[in-house]
Symmetry: D2
């Protein structure tokens, strides 16, 4: 097949999956009032493949077979491949009104990581994983699947590893090995897009000690597998009018608490099974790609922070004030810094066996760190330039009413020539972006998604070459090498 | 009377006021599903006066008449008066779950300012304003009124003054003077608590040029005055479950676009009428008190940021990690800084004619600046310590369901001994506080309410004595005084 | 005696002390080209006692005996006492051109701490220490002594305590106890003003484990005691012209590596001798006072940062630019914050046995933290407003030369009406303050003197009441108390 | 010739130039006790061309003529050319112990800019400038000249342009035009390396108004031209021992106030002469290259901050503490950010007529802004990790003395196995780097050299494409394009 239509994608979600929302089993995710919004958002991916503006970016052709398939499934081999992947992620997020689509981004991040670790295991005498990974990769590409990745375990006491917890199920684990497969139990938190993908890849969340073998497990499953229960989050889940919530009324991502209630995984779909020393490398290889995905998809968000700040400053008539220019400059420098570091991460990639281009890990983490560390301050600046109407403005009904509407049209005008409607629409956009539950979602994602601020700092510390600079310091200090 | 019961307060709101919500006229604000929450919140003030824990703080007794009345109405004469006023504001906000009550705080801030400016006008030969202010103050105190203050005009192009706008009504103005009073027209934005106060005081928002006489106007009116139309904001206005939204399900403040559609104000209630050189001083005197109110009522909010961060860190099992202690320390220092500066502002007050203690303006503004400049970063820290569950957590129905509930109880536990329910409740609290529309409301208020960040910087610049330090610099540089 | 003249102070330093500078024994510290500058600076203290402008602040009269003595020696009993002590410290530092005088400040900080700990020991059955402390305090006050305090041990590996070091002498210790006294060995680093005080008080630098008894020692000695060797730092020690270095040409503080080469301390002067559980409290009590001294003496430094920034901005003709006002405002807010918190620390002091007012420890540490955390950024702002001439300017000889001088007078003028000389003098002042070794000294002191940034953060963490806020969070979250 | 030896370079400076130091005419700059240090430092450039480790980087061969010449003189045509230029600048600065060599960097920055502007003027009908620029470029390359650039005028009142000053000479100007050349008068401040270059290029410092024709002038001269007077700064100019000052004892850059006392410039060396509309573009084109030079040469400085911080943390035994790792991570992220943005600026260059690769201006300015805005905080971190000994340490004579040396060797040891000498040498390095006049020099350069912080912010504001993001915001807000 290679490429699916949006309609085929929607139809594929009628598969008997077990999704709960507000305590109730969801009959049809595509028509559910809340989850349906997320489904429509995810379909952006399939629309773009058909859209002449995006087709060259979104679709690639296999040189040998002539098969056309989604660029996401193409293994990156060069800096250019990474740049195009990054551009595609940004473009689809821009279509998604700053909300990432993610139904292929995250899954292929996992697939690339699985290739690298399976290749290493093959060199260590276990060739079966690499074969399985390749076949699974081919399957997903051919079927044009939407993929979720479940990585973060519920963890219990975060100060302890899997083995030391009050409860053995606080990390997903193998409870039984059978000739034809394994039985797994446990739960993963905030699994994104899982309500509306075809498949789910499950990865370990951290390095494992040598006696944590049952926790060193990776596999993939159709979402509609017996025993897989998706408890969808209700966060931000209420009907929103698009006038009041220009972004989140039409764009949504679902997260689930994903429970594996003694689920059978066939051997062919098991990608790690007890190799404790490979758990950490797999978790790490995944985030190397996934943080690059993250900084790529954050760029439209930063664009919108800058763009909406600039627009509202003009509408308010303050765009020439010194402090306003200063603030716009800070936003611009913030955006340019993250974008420049992301580009540099692609340019300075490392090609590792089996021939996969990995974005420069130090630069990726530093880009992510700069993004995350400064996001809340950027939000403050945008709110500052907008004014208090962000949280004291009228409703769509007020705007449409013959009684109240005229007052709003008269009194909410800004600079001469700016209609009240433009100003109010821009304020509503910024309110949705920064001062609604969607705004809170973006803030929390900034510090937690794809690894927390601390994770990025830890990785920066590990990737940075301290030895060279320290040797330089000793040389200048006149300290002889030992 | 002196003191009203909560019931009397509620009853007093049945006065025919013209409040619109989502385009519809509200019949009874006390029973309206959204505004009713704000009414109940405001009633905290009257409950506290009856509560033995708070009575001494909330109520004072007139030494001469023996009359008991709300402390808010007491004109501060000493540092101690300001300290107690600040304590009362903090205590009621703490009762309000970090949301200020405000129905007397803001109104008395305005009354104190009006006393000062009217006294100055009396010394300049216009004694009538001071007499009116005194009588109006007596009335409010005696009736134990709830008061709103409408100050911020809609402004149009913020780069221009009242006279230069595209529309003459962008600032509230006198359209006709009559022997018995004046007719006013215009609109004020984000008037807080006006849906549920008895009276509304209207103040100029800025200094006025000498030819802006029609805009130099201050007055007071019952909310239920003909021509006064309150367009209530729908922001955050949906029904919330207290399990999911522990703060905002039960606590709310309403803001209105307040339209004056050719409203008559009797002479007795006019406190400024064309004295352009007094408009700026009145606006400024008001914010001197009102920013002190602000830093007082922000303290419980900062307490809760620290307290919830500490609690969730313990529940997550990370409270001993170095970076966690560092972050808790930064939150603690932030809180202690704002609180210390607020206390110092009271201690170092200035007593001005007619014998009113004004909190130290420099310290008040610096306290407010420290609060506002660092708020978003503090939110980031709290979100950082909490984890992604802030925005991916379950609903109350999931928790109560026999199907999904047991999974949540099993998998959302934290550190040993911490029940999943405690952890989830704390996460919901923090989500409501920082990642909901209420969280966005607090962020926007941080940079806009009671004067923006820029306003506080401007005032800091004006109040700081640069001359002394500059003279010291010249002396040390060996530059002779001219 | 009670009060000495500056001449008596200088004469008292001819006592055979063993001071080394650049490897050579110093014959007379008062006439030494470098140390002599420090002596003259220290004499400010004695001059102020004679100066009618300062006498009331600097000198107090014993109500009973009528004896007049330096205010530093007065034990603070009330907030007002602390405020006046703080004012005196600031005033003398202002006289010292932003360099603290310190010859009584630090010693009395130690004496107050010794009183508190000795009182506690007395209550635990060891009354002798309190008697000794009182007698020693009386002696110092009566003789109007200058006092140094040696606290910071050389420490070796900072990750280890005294007992675990490679070398047992890395912390000062008792090597022999004799009936009439003790023999001590070890060294203390950066002992300030010791080259020119009469006495030196030696305190432990940290809490001690129960088997570190030999290190739990406190005592006092005349500087000129056999075996006490002062190795004075050469940092910043070269002759400076007052035109080029308006501050540091005439103001200097000396630090020494203070070696105790098996020094005998008579019993009467021993204030701690093996009581390991009192070592930490003594170290801590000292810094409680000493950090309050620190924030008091930092105020003139902050004044000068603000004042010189304002002056040079005017000379450069940029004082009205938006970004300049913004920067001056940030400096002003920084100064006002530290000053406000310092005042609040005095106002909110705790009176502890035996009746001594201790500045509020939380507020003191937060004030110090705010000072230290923001100092370098403040320096950046001042340098930013000044221009590159700070480090590319001419010498005093260029200014005086008939060949080069006229070019400087012609070309280095600033805004109309500002003579080149004024501008150059102000630039030299700022260069000395921020871009010379003296500037580096102030930067390093900001993060290390009187406890490092980390020390202040640790103390803030310990002093802040987390329990109250955490209980408030649990209450709002609906979590029942256990 | 193409390449000169260090000896030839030194000999070339005996040319009768008029340099003043501390009011005295300098007979021989190469042997002057202070300026001689700067000359030796500058000679690094010529040594590197002979050094097998650097030759390939430092020298290029003309493909046509086979002539070998300094890479600095090669006009960049591709991203790769810019990357290599950047690497060369960093390598020579690293040899210079973090002090840039600059004797070819800045001059070629100017030459490239002159090519671009002259090419534009040629297209506008004035081909003579491009011919002159090419001949001058050939001359410099062939003679392997050292070049200074004098750009910053003394400026007087910075709030005014050249024409509005109290004195007409506050900007360098043409006082007479003659058939064979022009006479210029005025002075430039902080001209770097001019005491020891062969030539000096003079550029306008800003855009000029149409009636400021006399100030729109650019030209080049041998330093030893009649009427050119160099008043060398005495800043940091004293003899330093290399033990105490490991960097600045052996590395120095001189700045001069460069006076043009009615100097004749022959027509052939005039590159702008009254074309007011080209003055701004020339000033801007220069800084586009020069800020790229700046961020390239700042990298070794950042390396040393990181490296010395890491080394001293280990020596002090604190490298495993959480806060220390946090601080090292912040330094590492700072370094990686500036380096990554610099690389991206080269990669994303623009090739402009006549075929010159210009580093991406937005990214260059953002890199410079990130460097400058965070430099002082980085210094704070390094000082924090080092300890107070930075400013209270011993002298070289103390170290060598038989009396005091043994105490230092005993007491200044750090972690086990770290000799006191290593620790002391590292502390001295950091003290020189951050807490000496050299440290102050670096701080001031950070905010002023190659354009101030404000200049970088202004350029960022101008280069950033606000229109695209603003259009995106309007689209998402539902605002129709006009």
């Amino acid at each position: 097949m290679g490429l699916r239509t949006p309609e085929q994608y929607l139809a594929s979600l009628h598969d008997g999956r077990e999704v709960y929302y507000r305590g109730e089993l969801v009959k049809d995710v595509t028509t559910h009032p809340i989850i349906g919004v997320a489904v429509a958002h995810a379909a952006i991916d399939y629309h773009m493949a058909e859209d002449s503006r995006y087709r060259d970016l979104a679709v690639v052709t296999d040189a040998e077979t002539g098969e056309r398939f989604s660029r996401y499934y193409q293994i990156p081999r060069t800096p250019e491949d990474l740049v195009l992947r990054s551009r595609l992620i940004a473009a689809s997020t821009r279509e998604g009104a700053t909300l990432v689509v993610l139904i292929k981004e995250i899954g292929t991040d996992a697939l690339f990581a699985m290739h690298i670790v399976a290749d290493e295991l093959a060199r260590r005498g276990k060739p079966e994983y690499l074969q399985r990974v390749r076949r699974y990769h081919d399957l997903c590409r051919r079927e044009d699947y939407a993929l979720a990745v479940a990585q973060t375990d519920v963890k219990g006491d975060r100060g302890l590893g899997p083995g030391g917890q009050e409860h053995p199920d606080y990390y997903v684990r193998i409870v039984e090995e059978r000739p034809d497969g394994i039985i797994v139990r446990g739960a993963k938190v905030h699994t994104s897009v899982s309500t509306n993908t075809n498949e789910m890849i499950v990865l370990p969340t951290r390095a494992m000690a040598s006696d944590d073998g049952a926790y060193a497990v990776a596999f993939a499953l159709p979402v509609a597998t017996k025993g897989v229960k998706l408890l969808a989050s209700s966060y931000g889940g209420f009907r929103k009018d698009p006038f009041e919530f220009p972004i989140s009324a039409g764009h949504k991502m679902m997260e689930t608490l994903t429970v594996f209630d003694d689920v059978f995984v066939p051997r062919e779909r098991v990608f790690l099974c007890g190799e404790t020393d490979a758990a950490g490398p797999l978790a790490l290889a995944f985030v190397k790609f996934h943080r690059f995905t993250a900084v790529s998809y954050k760029l439209p968000l930063l664009e919108l922070l800058v763009g909406s700040a600039r627009a509202i400053a003009e509408y308010n008539g303050i765009e020439r004030a010194g402090h306003v220019r200063e603030k716009l400059t800070r936003l611009a420098a913030y955006h340019a810094t993250v974008r420049g570091l992301t580009d540099a991460a692609a340019q300075q990639c490392a090609v590792v066996p089996p021939g996969i281009a990995v974005p420069n890990t130090l630069l990726t983490n530093v880009a992510k760190y700069q993004f995350a560390a400064n996001y809340h301050q950027a939000v403050q600046v945008v709110q500052d330039l907008s004014g208090g109407l962000l949280v004291t403005g009228p409703s769509v009904e007020d705007w449409q009413s013959g009684v109240t509407g005229p007052y709003l049209r008269k009194y909410l005008g800004g600079k001469k020539g700016v209609p009240a409607e433009h100003r109010l629409r821009m304020l509503n956009l910024i309110s949705d972006l920064t001062a609604s539950d969607f705004g809170g979602y973006q803030e929390v994602l900034a510090v937690h998604a794809e690894g927390s601020l601390e994770a990025e700092k830890l990785q920066t510390y590990r990737e940075y070459d301290f030895d060279g600079p320290a040797a330089y310091a000793r040389k200048l200090a006149g300290i002889e090498p030992d």
